[in-house]
Each structure stands twice: as structure tokens, then as C-alpha cells.
């Protein structure tokens, strides 16, 4: 046995030794101005408005390559981008825009007002995921650098939503493209932004963005931006080797590990609070019951157990503390108060039996709660709290498609889901009163809706602030939905890079810190 086996064994152990020994550390590429960002999932499509993946990250990618008319300063305030000036008329029905004469497409052609008018027309025909052009009556070219946009109604959020949110497309490339989603030529990604996508390896999840020469705006800090796909654990290891600069999706459970590896961690509320929505035509049509529920839930405990420190209690007045319009004093805060809740529920017509269970007309009440996969853990904690109070809860975890199809009042009393409150408050009209699957679908007696409409059309900031304060107050009394928790987004980075979260999100309200303004000098 010995003779043949000996050499075989040594061959095997040599192979094993080679495998286990790490290869010699290679000096990294000599470009000092390279930024490497990691994310666990980098399937964000391509950097063009019709090729981007769904969701905010796809939008952000396009935003690197395509400038909008209006951008943001580091404080989040609107700042000139493709439009060096924009002016809303006194009646709010037209907006005059001056296009920056230095603005250029990546292929060298100038950006003119013809491109802007073309974009408005094109996007009206091929809808954009985040920006609605319903209110735009028409556009008019006044000169190669001036144009006028006409609106149907005054819109206080027009600049923040449309001007800052709509990517401008090059007319000479997109004219005649009848199916923009299949237009995957490299020319589809010719924009006017500071970076262009120079390499994309889909399977590896790698994006390489190169700085555009002669960018008309602020100077770029980095020659190359790399976005790589790494699980956060692996990303932390790579960051300690200096291979990764920013870990853009650090889960809460790894914050300690990141800090112990000498990374800095930024947290910010994501502006996507988790809401408990109601079937407004069922058991919770009665306002008192909704208010009682707000008293039953110990929202701090929900944050502590289900999110272990990476969430904070949300404001019940719709707007959260990241919004400039937030008025905590006008919001009614519902303390954890089982006694008050009992009183409210009894007044609303429910009774309690000897065992403590709640009954309606003698029948025990079972609340039907549906939830998507991400909030399943929170649903469990919620269920325990409600059942401790005597309300049976039947939880159903639905996947996204089924969640979308749930008709009003068919199968549920409560829905637990995240929803955005970012962006201009004009969006409250849609989010609170709309009938889409992720809107709150509230009607009420009309007073709240009147307030929402008034603030959406109010162009005077002071008047608008007062209207919004009244809106928040009324919202917290009527509770179309209970805003439970604000989840924090966390990002880890090394000392050299400086990502930051905008308080109201990027552009239309996307809670990311790796936006293009991070790559540009102030």
C-alpha cells in the first residue's frame, strides 16, 4: 500500500496547500481617485431611464449619467443643474426655464430647450416610473436656451417633483425610438451627467463609471466609480483590505462588526416608515377603533424587538422628522395606554368577555393582518402585543404580487407595509387618498382632503406651512394609517469618502447616500 500512496498523498497535500494559501497580495490599480462602492445586490439594470431596474437604486444609477433640470445642494435645497434658472409665474400656471448654455451631451452636442420639450413629449408617451406629467399642459420653445412649461393647475411641488425628478433625454438619440425598453445600444446611455457607464459586467454585478471630461457642472472628485456586488460580511473584509470604500447596505446586525474594523457608520431615517393601514370599509371604519389601536401598540417595544435599535418611533401626523414641514407640536402623540384603549373600544361598540377577549355582537373578533415578507418579523411582534390585549390576530404573509392584488375590504382588516413619505408633501394627495394598492385609500369626511389639496396648490411657503401643520394635526386625529416606525438606513465607509443622506431623499425622495453629489466637489 505504501509505495503508490505516498506520492499521491503528497500531491494532494501540495494542492491543498496551494489552495489554502492566499495568493500574493496585488498592488491595487494605481488610480488614487477611484471609489469602490459595494452592495449585496447590484442588479440595477443599465443607466438609462428605460433600462434602469425598478426602484430607487435604478433611478440613482440613471441619475449619475443623466442630469435633470434641477439638482440639489448638499443641504438638499434645490440647485441649478441643466436649468441655470427657473421661475414660476404668479398664477402658478407657467414655468420659465433657462437651460445652461454650457450644458453638453456626452457626445459633444449642446443641450438645448428642444431636448427639454422633446423629453416632455416623449415621457408623456412612454411613462416614467416616478415622475408624473399629468399636470403639464404643454411646452413651448422660446429660444435655444429658454422654454416655457404650461400647467393645468398650480402645483407647489412642481419644481421638486418634475424639474428635479425628470431626466432629460437627448432628442437626437431618442427621437424615433418606439420601444425604449428594448433600446439597449450604448447610445441609449448618452446623457449630460458627470459620469458615464464605461463597463458593465452583469453576472458579476460590476459597474464602472468614468468621469466625463469637460463636465459643465462641478468638478468630479473621482476618475472612476466602481459599484461591486458583495455581501456585507465579505464587503467588510474587503474594506479592511482597502479594496472597498463604501458599503452601502449595512444591515443593523453588522454595525458592530463594521465599527470594530475601523469603518465609520452613518445612519439616517429612511423616510420610509412602516405603516399599519386599514380597510376603511370594515371593522376600522370607526375612528375610535383606529385611535384605540394606536394606544394599544407599544411602538417603542416594536422598534426594540423587531429592529433592535435600527428603527425609531414614527410621528403619527404623516410627515416625519426628516421633513422641513414637520411640526411635532401639532401632532397628537398616542402614548401606550391600555386603559384609554379599552375605553375607546367599548365606546365604539365592542365588548370584553371574562377571559379578556374582545367580542363584537357576542362573537370573538379576529383581526386579519396581511404583510409582505420583509415585515414578517414585525408582524409577529405586533400580533403578540395585540393578543396580549385580547384581540386575536390572524397573520398572512403574502408575496409582492398577491399583496398588490388584494382588493379593498376583501380579505383583510389591517395591512402592514412600508411606504414612502419622502419627496414634496404634494404627494400626500396620492398616498393618502389614492386607490392604488399601496395607498392608504382613505376618504374621511373630506376635511383632511381639503387641507391636502389646499397645501398642494399653495405657493406661499408660510401659508403652506400653516396648512401642513393643520394637516398633520388632523391626520393624527383621524389616523388614516398608523405610522409605526422609521427604519434607519445604514452605510459604512472609510475615512476618505463622505457619503451623506439627504433629509428628504435624493431627487424624488430616494433614501440613498451614494448619489452623484457625493462624487462632485461642492
Amino acid at each position: 500500500m505504501g509505495r503508490r500512496l505516498g506520492p499521491a498523498l503528497s500531491a494532494v497535500s501540495l494542492c491543498l496547500a496551494l489552495i489554502v494559501a492566499p495568493p500574493p497580495a496585488l498592488a491595487d490599480s494605481t488610480t488614487p481617485t477611484r471609489l469602490v462602492i459595494s452592495n449585496s445586490n447590484t442588479d440595477w439594470g443599465l443607466a438609462a431611464p428605460y433600462l434602469q431596474a425598478r426602484g430607487g437604486l435604478g433611478y440613482m444609477l440613471t441619475h449619475y449619467v443623466f442630469d435633470n433640470l434641477v439638482g440639489q445642494a448638499s443641504s438638499g435645497a434645490l440647485a441649478p443643474e441643466l436649468a441655470s434658472e427657473w421661475e414660476v409665474s404668479n398664477d402658478g400656471l407657467s414655468v420659465d426655464i433657462t437651460v445652461d448654455p454650457d450644458a453638453r451631451w456626452h457626445d459633444g452636442k449642446d443641450v438645448t430647450s428642444a431636448d427639454v420639450t422633446f423629453t416632455f413629449a416623449y415621457i408623456t408617451e412612454h411613462p416614467h416610473v416616478f415622475v408624473s406629467l399629468d399636470n403639464v399642459a404643454g411646452t413651448e420653445v422660446l429660444s435655444p436656451d429658454h422654454l416655457r412649461i404650461s400647467l393645468h393647475r398650480p402645483d407647489a411641488g412642481f419644481a421638486a417633483n418634475v424639474l428635479a425628478g425628470l431626466p432629460i433625454l437627448p432628442e437626437h438619440i431618442y427621437r424615433g425610438q418606439t420601444n425604449p425598453r428594448r433600446f439597449t445600444e450604448p447610445s441609449a446611455m448618452i446623457g449630460s451627467g458627470p459620469y458615464r457607464l464605461s463597463r458593465h459586467k452583469r453576472a458579476k454585478g460590476l459597474y464602472v463609471f468614468s468621469a466625463v471630461t469637460d463636465y459643465y457642472g462641478a468638478a468630479q472628485k473621482y476618475d472612476e466609480i466602481l459599484i461591486v456586488k458583495l455581501q456585507p460580511e465579505g464587503a467588510i473584509q474587503a474594506a479592511t483590505n482597502g479594496e472597498v470604500n463604501v458599503i452601502s447596505d449595512l444591515p443593523n446586525r453588522l454595525v458592530k462588526m463594521a465599527k470594530s474594523n475601523r469603518l465609520q457608520v452613518e445612519t439616517a431615517p429612511s423616510g420610509h416608515p412602516i405603516k399599519l393601514r386599514f380597510d376603511h370599509e370594515g371593522l376600522f371604519a370607526v375612528t375610535q377603533r383606529r385611535q384605540a389601536l394606536a394606544h394599544i401598540l407599544d411602538r417603542q417595544a416594536l422598534a426594540d424587538i423587531a429592529y433592535r435599535g435600527s428603527a425609531s418611533v414614527a410621528s403619527l401626523g404623516y410627515l416625519q422628522d426628516n421633513s422641513a414641514w414637520y411640526r411635532p407640536n401639532s401632532v397628537y402623540s398616542y402614548e401606550y395606554d391600555p386603559v384609554k384603549a379599552t375605553e375607546l373600544l367599548t365606546r365604539s361598540g365592542w365588548a370584553r368577555d371574562a377571559a379578556g377577549r374582545w367580542l363584537q355582537d357576542g362573537q370573538p373578533i379576529t383581526l386579519r393582518l396581511i404583510v409582505g415578507g420583509k415585515e414578517a418579523a414585525l408582524a409577529q411582534v405586533l400580533q403578540d402585543q395585540l393578543e396580549a390585549f385580547g384581540l386575536e390576530v390572524a397573520v398572512r404573509v403574502l408575496e409582492r404580487g398577491a399583496l398588490r392584488e388584494v382588493a379593498q375590504g376583501k380579505d383583510y382588516d389591517l395591512i402592514l407595509a412600508g411606504g414612502s413619505t419622502l419627496g414634496d408633501p404634494v404627494t400626500a394627495l396620492e398616498r393618502v387618498f389614492g386607490s392604488n394598492w399601496n395607498n392608504e385609500r382613505y376618504k374621511g369626511d373630506g376635511a383632511l382632503m381639503n387641507l391636502a389639496q389646499a397645501q398642494a396648490q399653495s405657493l406661499d411657503p408660510d401659508k403652506r406651512a400653516a396648512l401642513l401643520a393643520a394637516f398633520q394635526h388632523r391626520y393624527s386625529r383621524e389616523l388614516p394609517a398608523i405610522h409605526l416606525l422609521n427604519i434607519h438606513r445604514t452605510i459604512a465607509h472609510d475615512a476618505a469618502s463622505r457619503p451623506w443622506f439627504f433629509s428628504e431623499g435624493l431627487s424624488v425622495g430616494i433614501p440613498v447616500a451614494i448619489h452623484k453629489y457625493m462624487f462632485l466637489e461642492d
Binding site: E233, P251, R253, L254, M257, A301, D304, I305, A306, R308, G373, A376, A377, Q380, V381, D384, V395, R396, V397, E399
Partner: protein, 275 residues
């Protein structure tokens, strides 16, 4: 139906297994005995006096979880294996009773069922609708019955061609009578062996599905507890989140494998003694 089984040691052991399983299932019915699987503020606590096996990330006790998941995991495996075996018995019986057309049909079906890459089908169905307990039993049984058919058929053929059986058949006995009185006894060891193997396969399959998160979120099994543990491998929590469900699954499977081995050993020695 009277079946006179010799109460040998192997049967006693198997009965014990069945009894333990039934006990576990009774525990489920009287689930007040096991404390409720409650969330609490004590999240990710290591094993201590208050929580013997520690808690998971929403404060639920791991021990309670294991106890509550046990009847589900074991019950699903037992039921799936039983259903798969029943389907196989029916198929094999058809192939034997109708030797010409039945055999051809059954063999075709078996071949095709064998060919289907079951994981692809499982993925497809899971994408369509996350299966709950009943659906898992049906789905897995339908995908695995083909394993048993050939053996059952050959064993049945062997038994039927025995002299005493052919004599009784000549005397005009009907099939049900034959099956119950004569054949069942001889076939039982094979059935038990196949059943045990089915249970092993079913346990691994269901645990794998739960581990991937493809089963209904309400279904608490050892596999789904493992899925929760995967996120915490980088923290010390893996010790009490990962190891207990693994040990339970491994222990259960080891028990079944040992029983199966002992049982086949005995069957082989009986065969050798007879031949």
C-alpha cells in the same frame, strides 16, 4: 383487519418510533403544554437560566421553537412518506394485477416521473405560491413515489409466484383476500424499509425547502429555524441558533437510518437462513 405480526425485536423498536412520533403529534394538539412561541424584548440572548437554549432575533425562545417545530417537521415527513408509499403500492399493484397493459402504463409513468428534475418543479411551484403543509405533502409525494415502484413490483411478483399463493389462486381466491391474508405478511419488511427511506428523503427535502425560504412563512419547522440562523453566522449567536435545529434534524435522521440498517440486516439474515 387482523394482521398477525410476529412481535420480534425489530417490530418492537419500530413501534417505539411510531409511538414517539405520535406522542410528539399529541404534544402539538395539546400545545398549551409547550409555552407559546412568544416574542420578547430579550433578543439574541445566549443560553441562560431564563432561556435554556437562548433566544432568536425577535426574542423567541429557541427551545420552545424546537418543541413546536418537532411535530410539524416529523409529521410532514411521516405523512409525505406514507402518501408516496401508498401511491407506489397502488401503482405496483396495478402493474401486477394487469400484467400487460397495466405494467406498460405504470412503467411509462414511473420512467417519466423519474426523469422530471423535481427541484425545478418545486422551484416553479414555490414561485407561483408558497406551499403550506398540505401542499408540501402532496407535492413531495407526487415527486417521489417513483422511487419505490420497481422494488414493490418485483417483491409483489416474487410473492405471487410462490407455490402456496399459486395454489390458492387456482382454488379461486380473489385478489383482496390474497393480499390481506398471504402477501401482506411477506411484503411488510420491504414496506417498512421503503417507508423509512421515504421518511429520510422527505425530511431532507422539506427541510431544504424551508431552509431556502420557499415554504409558507407560517409553517414552523426545524428547516425554517435554520433559515433564520443563517443571518447570524458572524455573531456568537450561531451557537444557539444553528446547532440545536441541526442536531435535532441529524438526530432524527440518524435514528431512522439506524433503524433502516438494522431492519435490512435482519431481512437479509432471514433471507439467507431461508435460502
Amino acid at each position: 383487519m387482523r394482521i398477525a405480526l410476529p412481535m420480534s425485536r425489530r417490530s418492537v423498536r419500530l413501534l417505539c418510533v411510531i409511538l414517539v412520533s405520535i406522542l410528539l403529534l399529541v404534544l402539538a394538539a395539546a400545545s398549551d403544554l409547550i409555552p407559546a412561541y412568544q416574542t420578547s424584548a430579550a433578543t439574541l440572548q445566549p443560553p441562560a437560566h431564563a432561556y435554556w437554549l437562548g433566544t432568536n432575533d425577535i426574542g423567541q425562545s429557541v427551545l420552545t421553537g424546537l418543541l413546536r417545530a418537532a411535530p410539524v417537521t416529523v409529521g410532514l415527513a411521516l405523512a409525505t412518506a406514507a402518501l408516496a408509499l401508498i401511491i407506489a403500492i397502488v401503482m405496483a399493484g396495478l402493474a401486477v394485477i394487469y400484467p400487460n397493459r397495466g405494467r406498460a402504463l405504470v412503467l411509462h409513468l414511473t420512467d417519466m416521473a423519474e426523469i422530471v428534475p423535481s427541484i425545478l418543479l418545486l422551484l416553479l411551484v414555490a414561485a407561483w405560491h408558497q406551499p403550506g403543509a398540505l401542499e408540501i405533502i402532496l407535492l413531495t409525494a407526487v415527486l417521489t413515489w417513483h422511487d419505490d415502484v420497481r422494488i414493490l413490483r418485483s417483491v409483489l411478483l416474487r410473492e405471487i409466484s410462490r407455490e402456496n399463493i399459486t395454489t390458492v389462486r387456482h382454488m379461486g381466491a380473489s385478489w383482496p383476500y390474497l393480499l390481506l391474508r398471504h402477501i401482506l405478511q411477506a411484503v411488510t419488511p420491504t414496506l417498512i424499509g421503503l417507508y423509512l427511506q421515504n421518511v429520510v428523503q422527505a425530511t431532507m427535502r422539506v427541510a431544504g425547502l424551508a431552509f431556502l425560504g420557499l415554504t409558507d412563512a407560517d409553517l414552523l419547522t426545524w428547516g425554517s429555524m435554520l433559515q433564520d440562523a443563517i443571518n447570524y453566522l458572524h455573531t456568537p449567536a450561531w451557537q444557539w441558533l444553528l446547532l440545536p435545529p441541526t442536531l435535532c434534524l441529524t438526530g432524527f435522521l440518524l435514528l431512522l437510518l439506524t433503524l433502516d440498517q438494522r431492519q435490512t440486516q435482519r431481512a437479509q439474515s432471514v433471507d439467507e437462513a431461508v435460502s
